[in-house]
Structure formats: C-alpha cells, structure tokens
C-alpha cells in the first residue's frame, strides 16, 4: 500500500476534492434531466414515453461501461497483484450491479406501456439480465471466500471471463431473437433528442465515477484497518 493512497483517504472528507465532485455530479444530473425534459418535443410514436429514454439509456450505457472497468482492473490485478486494483475491480462490480438492476427496472417500466407486457425476451433486456446475474455471481464469490489473495485472484479471473462473455451473450441472444422473428426495440435516436441524451449520459457517468471512488475509499479504509489489526497481532508495533 503506497503512502499516497493513505494520504488521500485517511484525512477528513473536506481535504479531498471528491465530495465536491459528488455534489457536482448529482446537481449536474438534476439539471440535465430538467433540461432534457423541457426542451424535447413528444415523439411521434412514443409520445411522452420518450422521456424515459433520458434515464433508461444512460443507465444502460453505464451498465455496459462497468464490466469494462471490472475487466480492466481485474487484468491489472493479475499483472500487478496490487490490492488497490482488486478493490477497484470489486467497487466497480458493486456499482455495476446497482446500475444493472436499475436498467432492468427502467426497461420494464418502458416495456409495459409500449408493448403491454412487463417483460419481453428482447435481446438487450435479456442480455442485461444475464449480466446482472453474472455480477451477482461475482459478488457472491467475493462474499464466500475469506482468504484475501485467493479472493482477489479468483475475482479477477471470474470478472475478466464474465466481461468477455458479455458481447458473446448479447450476440447469441440477438441471433436467438431474429431466428424466432420477434420485433426488436427501436435502435435509432431522433436527432432532436441527442443533446438531452448526451447531457444525461455524461451526468450519469459522473455519478458512476463518484460511486466507484467512494466505494473504493471505503474498501481501502477497511483494508488498512485489517492491516493495522494484523500488525498489532504480530507485535510489529508502529506502522510505516
């Protein structure tokens, strides 16, 4: 553990820039949502339901990004064996699970008035559900392994393989859907909505980054507490 990491986490919150970033992220999100709703006209087909896009699509995009983070930090851990990388991967996975759950809920809220049912085995919705289950498995794995090094290494492997599986799952489910000839959900976004969508996407991204950072800080603190206890137990006295 580098002393740099210690310095940025241990002092009280106001010494670090991250709480400010957190406030900024949430305020930006509120502003983006209000802006998007205000400036967008009702869609020809969907009417006012189109507004749901401003939360559903960014949530979906964030959920797609987070496995990339788990993949990246997992690979980095396998390369560096640094605990920070493991904790970052785990934090990303936890945040990803939240966004995946939210995306699923929003997808169902969209589906009900649009197609009259709460669930369709739509390619994207189904892939999202499988991703959610993979993330739940990842978190269960971490909860069930007590040895730190094994937990970190196995999580990295499971995370990397899971992330690589995401496009494979999506591809196979999509083929499965076209074989059975069911309509797919609309893909293209009308140009009138792009601005609002981009604003909200960035806002969600900021919120997600803030979440991962905060979760990571908590995990880091917990880890340092464990180390202090271990050192005391070994009778090594003062820390570095």
């Amino acid at each position: 553990m580098t002393t740099g990491a210690v310095a940025s986490v241990v002092p009280k919150s106001h010494a670090s820039r991250w709480p400010v970033f957190g406030w900024f992220a949430f305020l930006f999100l509120i502003a983006s949502q209000i802006t998007a709703i205000a400036i967008s006209p009702p869609d020809r087909d969907m009417g006012d339901l189109q507004k749901i896009m401003y939360v559903h699509v960014p949530a979906a995009w964030m959920t797609m990004l987070s496995p990339l983070a788990v993949l990246y930090f997992g690979l980095r851990y396998l390369w560096t064996r640094r605990e920070e990388d493991d904790l970052l991967a785990a934090s990303s996975a936890e945040v990803a699970t939240t966004f995946a759950g939210l995306t699923l809920a929003l997808g169902m809220i969209w589906a009900r008035p649009t197609w009259g049912v709460w669930w369709t085995w739509d390619a994207r919705l189904t892939s999202m559900l499988v991703l959610f289950l993979m993330l739940a498995g990842y978190l269960a794995l971490r909860a069930l392994i007590d040895e730190r090094e094994r937990r970190a290494q196995w999580s990295a492997v499971v995370g990397v393989l899971g992330a690589l599986n995401v496009p494979i799952v999506y591809m196979s489910v999509r083929w499965w859907r076209t074989i059975h000839q069911i309509q797919s959900s609309p893909e293209t976004v009308d140009r009138a909505y792009v601005v609002g969508l981009r604003l909200n996407a960035f806002a969600m991204l900021f919120v997600m980054i803030y979440f991962v950072r905060r979760r990571y800080e908590a995990a880091l603190l917990e880890r340092m507490a464990e180390r202090a206890i271990e050192r005391a137990a070994l009778g090594q006295g003062a820390a570095r």
């Binding site: 241990v10 949430f26 999100l29 949502q33 009417g47 006012d48 339901l49 507004k51 749901i52 939360v55 559903h56 949530a59 945040v95 939240t98 759950g101 939210l102 809920a105 929003l106 809220i109 969209w110 009900r112 008035p113 919120v207 979440f211 905060r214 979760r215 800080e217 908590a218 995990a219 603190l221 917990e222 340092m224 507490a225 464990e226 202090a228 206890i229 050192r231 005391a232 006295g237 003062a238 820390a239």
Partner: protein, 45 residues
Amino acid sequence: MSNWMFVGAAFAATWIALLGYLAHLQRTMRRSRDLFERATKAGNR
C-alpha cells in the same frame, strides 16, 4: 394508465436507486472509518 405515470415511475425509480446506493455508500464508509479508527486507536500507527 396515463403515460406520464410511467415517466414519473421511471424517474422515481432512478432517484430511489441512486440515492439508495448513496445511502449505502455512506453507511459502508462510516463502518470502515469506525473500523479504521478502532484499529489505529491502540497506538498502532
């Protein structure tokens, strides 16, 4: 059911999820900090 109810439900769900996770973060952070302070209190620094 009016479409606006679904739009409202969507935004409500979003904020419940985000603020809910934020609350979870605060609790986790507080627990970690307590753990850290207790661990370092006994002069282990």
